[in-house]
Symmetry: D2
Subunit: 456 residues, 4 copies
């Protein structure tokens, strides 16, 4: 474990991208290839069994492979070489057939896909957990009044539940995107040197089909050595998700501000302290998630830039992916995991939310009074009248209600009791409740679609 | 028209993003809003008719709006103000109801969506045209022998048709992605100041539904003011597409190199010349497309970074989108349009392709001979034997066949006539033909799915 | 003027990047080239005079050039062609020598440099104006107590002047960077087709020297057609500056929050309003600057990606720069200009700053009391003791002073009057004043260095 | 060592960014702080000695720190806690003063700077080695004729030495930039919680000065906790350098193409092979460097985006830097190291360069003949005449000389022997030699400036 790993990453995903796991991915390809070729009669099944028996990462020495990979330009070449030796020690005949008809990129790409498949499964489950936590929170605070804020300014009353429903609505979409991405990404890479399966003669398609069955991967119409859109779409899908996670984290960090203090990341021994400030309770999760939301967009752009790969197999672009994709998955998964934990235990101070609705001395009801006047004198004129009154209120530090009560146009159309009503309208929240219902229904439907595998 | 516009952009799309079009988008929203609200009884239908009659961009002065937008912080505020004046001159009563219950962002976002919808329609059609051109090219050159190249080195023989099938396969996927993106993006923005439709009281949902019908846009469960994943997904979808366009352009530019000379962008009077080199025929389209493929990934990362928007409506992130999205669409559409024209008229020199298969004096058949030996002596040993022979061939500037003919292990297993066969195997192209068939079938199926609207 | 231009851009810089200005830049190159070549005896001075007389952008038709540029692949080819015609009408002999020995890229790159030189001059002056405004603000508020905030939480008292000094300190560095960048970027591009000045035979260096004199540009040791580090460094220099502008804007937007309300962007008629909220005073400048800070890093990464240009002159990378560089300069200059105006007239509410120091009921003095205890019982123990007390204070909604007064260890070491002193220590601001002095001195020194041209 | 590390990274730099090194960096800060404070009389020198004696990374357990850092939100908090325990076991009194007056960020930032200082020293030395290798290569091939290529097309003859001089010229600039960046980056971070050194009372400046002396770091006018331009400038400086490395690598990979074959990466046992193609000699270094040039621009944009840090110390932006900066340095250093090795041993096939000058049947001399005609008939007319002739030559597969010999205008002005001369002008290389001299002189001057420390 490295020093910053548990801070930024989620263990369940990180271990899927260890060196061992990367080596095992390539070996799983080689073993499955051997079995597929044996099934298609290219060599005896005993050969495949022997090869399979040696395809275990613990038989390989990472340091030696690493040094050889630096010379060769990729890690598959030394893996295949070492595997051939290992097999040869057990059975000289079997060693003849290791990696038969494949190219390095077949092993590296497919091996990575297997790691990625496991990782995306974890991410999908965690995203479901986040959605559930948000659904509970939204339901619970469906009617909790809170200040709505635009441009970082108080705007209108809203409910905390509506804000959370907005978060949930986006997360539901990411669940569907990810489900699509998971299918999209499970496509075998197998083409030999230039993607024609030349070395297998007429048996190429049959072997490919068998190999797809062995690994439970879809067999594409044509290999995709230098066409990286499928894998890049995993990157952009996760980047889109991380953008929403960042948005939620930004909101939480703003709501945690000393002067706002409406929600808090859950407290824990040793969590969010400071090395010098004893009173601090820092938004640690928000920091982690915002860091990911700062980093992942750029990493996604690296993947997109790297798509311009030359001819049958490129130089440089493909190599760029090897560290960038695990980084994207790792950062996105880490942000997701920590945010889920935080949302599931978020502390909400509903009293403070109510209190903050009072701090503007009625300015937050300006639109409500404007709309009440607008029916009489027109929207633009009402806007200008109320706007002028808010300026007086701010300048003279008086309440907006008081200022308006001194305006003849206002009093003509809005008697005092009507004004009272308006300036108490913490429930000036329009369709909030209906919207929450719709989002919660969509949440349930999304979960069902994903479970049934009919997410499209 | 600006100086660099016709170089980088496609007119059919560019004009959809003019200032006039942007203003008209917002006005289309305002007119539809008025009609929807009249339908729901908020005011008389005559009011809506008057408002609609003034919602024409040619009644508005761009410069005045631009200066006012700089003060206000967005272009919708002055548009609404000026529209209210215009309506007021015709009918004071109607002027009372302009922009009723909406916020600036409702007009700006929805207006942009309308522009984007038209643009994506053009892009989708052009992408279909590119796919068709590639399908013809692949079919025509299904059996045209050519050198396959990996790491910018000749690797194996392949067919030009297989290379083009790889291009087509990716483009087919982009067609499906775009069809999905087109639906995804057609979702009304309408929420009022904080997304609750508070100003419409209980009528919010009904008005929203009517507004969606007026504009033929889906009504979302909840407004998406500070949740930008839908629009960002359009950005990433186009960025993925541009990556593939860049890959094809890179390939064309490499094939056009003086020393390779296998394909050429179509010639035209004044096209691709040089200000000083009379013999030049520059890959102008490739340059344009590669420039787009350099720029769009970064622009997509801006969109992803900008997703971290604060609370109910953010400060800065939203503003960043206003120029970036049209830029992404414009660059992607321009690259697509010029590449489509180029592919449709690509000049292919099949003789030169044949010629280039000869330049390595047989090295390109190294894998073929290795596979022939491998069945006898094992893959790794065959690899090492042939590798050593290629080094001799290169060093002594002899043909690989000649060197191998002097090796006893080789001659033991491969008699002279067998070697002759191998070193003539321009058809050492494995499953190329079958792969092409599958890609062409997928092309036809994709077209049908898109036409039928069942692209998912 | 386009709709969003005055919102995001600064007119003084924007007009330097108009189409006319771009054409004039190329023409200035062609005119200077003619004069330089005449001075070196390649043709008579009258020829140069005639060519110079036609090098005026108003003689050229943008639309025709634009269409021809799209075919040719760059705008210099049609400019040279049209210039040759124009000159030919005046003097057939002179027309023979237009663009003698140059290549398109010489005209395009040098022309752009001339535009950029003027633009950077404006940016440098505005940056000086920002620095001066910050220096005044810092000096004025040198002793204004305010809450210092870390992780978006109140941490310790500080002074508003210290915060502004931090802003100024960074801006001073950007002034020096920009001064360096201005010199760095003023380097002639002139090399002919492959950078060897082949077409000028032995006269190349002499003509280059004369051309540099004509345009007041440094003559490099070798042309830089495919080496773009100098121009990219302008991009990164401006991106670094924009990062700091974004940081200042973020701070202003946070300080303007309804619940914080310590500073405000200056008010103006029609400024920062809302289309529906009459009470709003939005941070419009902050939005503009934050949008730029979201966009410029990605644009800079495009420039850096585009550096990988092929051989003597590249395909695609160079073309990517043509729109990206003006965009970077325009966005950075716009952000700078609006932020400068805002800082120069920033409204500061010192009373509210004082008030906000009270809202934590003493928690903000936690470090002060901890340090007072630390000398007695050690830093870690003091930290733990005060940390525990803050938790009690928060939970029981009591003041920290009150809680501490009930702790025996505290009262043993800190008598009541000592505690009083600590909980009044709005001047617990350490070296703030000395730091401000140093930054103000550096500000003066920076201005002198830049004026004297000795900024390095 | 991890699997891909030796492929992408340079060991000498990578080990400077190990977990141990990161911990040691923070401990070096704590030890120096203790000594500085003791020197200024805050506590006895024996205390500092005890603290210093425990500041050794090998006393700390990475896993425990990692888990605690995940809770705390940064690694300095557990380091300080564990250090306090360690010191306390030796001397209870000394333990009172660990981390006195500092904040976590002081330790993390300064600790990182110390790592970075060592790393940049290595990079600077390696960059010098690359420059020297390029200088030798340029000198050696000063007169080696080669085809100059623009837009990936043969353009004019040039010399291989001129191309290399272009590479060297850029690298010289990067040496100066890096020397500047090294100074720029060596600036102490020390400010306490909000940058005022409040906890040190009046002694802040004196302690800061002493601390700067202890660590040999410049003391800034004011702490830079949320102003990250200095560290970001290291990122952009390295990104600029990586851009040039990528450009050189792209050139090498293009020159290594089977059909061009002018230069080769040095051969070595096991280097650049393929898992299936025995004849391959892949441009492994080019791939590594191009991968870095694809990744580093995006990472630099993350650093620039992260500059927008809130108030006194930010949330998220700072955290993003922790992994991104080491990644930038590691990738840049790796690319530099492998490219240096490759350039130093580059195989150059001068015969093939000569051969490639012939492949166009004279087209490469088109500009030379055009310039010879231009003096007589004008540049534009000469251009059009030669352009037409090249089209005939290409179409009819004849040599350009032959076609021109049949044109009356040509033969009128250029007798046959003059044409012969032109079509043999492999020395049509203008000022190439003089340019090489200037670049070599600048190389020597740069080395002297850097050695003398007067690089600005």
């Amino acid at each position: 474990m490295s020093l910053l790993e548990p801070l930024f990453r989620w263990k369940a995903v990180e271990e899927l991208f260890s060196d061992r796991a990367r080596i095992q991915g390539m070996l799983d390809f080689e073993a499955a290839l051997a079995r597929a070729e044996a099934r298609k009669g290219i060599f005896p099944k005993a050969v495949a069994a022997t090869i399979t028996s040696k395809c275990r990462a613990e038989f390989f020495e990472v340091d030696a492979l690493a040094n050889a990979a630096a010379l060769a330009g990729n890690p598959a070449i030394p893996v295949v070489k070492q595997l051939t030796s290992l097999v040869g020690k057990a059975d000289k005949e079997a060693a003849k057939f290791v990696h038969w008809g494949a190219t390095s990129q077949d092993a590296i790409d497919t091996g990575f896909l297997l790691q990625q498949r496991d990782a995306l499964k974890q991410v999908a489950a965690e995203l479901g957990r986040l959605a559930d936590a948000l659904a509970s929170l939204s339901k619970k605070h469906r009617a909790t009044p809170a200040a709505g804020r635009t441009w970082l300014q108080q705007a209108l009353p809203t409910t905390f539940g509506l804000r959370v429903a907005g978060w949930l609505d986006a997360i539901n979409r990411h669940r569907l995107r990810l489900a699509h991405g998971q299918r999209q990404a499970c496509v075998l890479q197998f083409g030999g040197a230039v993607g024609s399966l030349a070395a297998l003669g007429a048996k190429g398609p049959a072997v490919a089909k068998a190999l797809g069955e062995e690994l439970n991967l879809e067999v594409p119409d044509i290999p995709w050595h230098s066409h990286r859109d499928r894998i890049c779409e995993v990157a952009t899908t996760l980047a889109l998700m991380t953008g929403t996670l960042g948005k939620i984290a930004r909101d939480i960090s703003l709501l945690m501000q000393t002067e706002v203090a409406e929600v808090f990341e859950p407290a824990a021994e040793g969590r969010g302290g400071s090395s010098t400030l004893p009173q601090k309770r820092n938004p640690v999760t928000a920091a982690i998630v915002l860091a990911a939301a700062t980093r992942v967009p750029a990493l996604a752009s690296s993947m997109l830039s790297a798509m311009v790969q030359e001819q049958e197999r490129g130089v440089g672009g493909w190599h760029a992916e090897w560290e960038v994709m695990p980084e994207i998955i790792g950062l996105a998964a880490g942000a997701l995991h920590y945010l889920t934990d935080t949302v599931a235990a978020l502390e909400v101070d509903t009293e403070r939310m109510l209190h903050n609705l009072e701090v503007t001395h009625g300015l937050i009801f300006a639109e409500a009074v404007q709309m009440a006047l607008a029916g009489e004198i027109g929207l633009r004129e009402a806007h200008e009248l109320v706007e002028a009154s808010t300026k007086v209120a701010l300048k003279e530090k008086r309440s907006l209600r008081e200022v308006l009560a001194g305006d003849k146009v206002v009093t003509k159309h809005l008697p005092s009791d009507r004004l009272d009503l308006i300036f108490n309208s913490k429930d000036y929240t329009g369709s909030a409740s209906e919207m929450i219902d719709r989002v919660l229904a969509a949440h349930a439907a999304t979960a069902r679609r994903i479970e049934s595998g009919k997410s499209e």
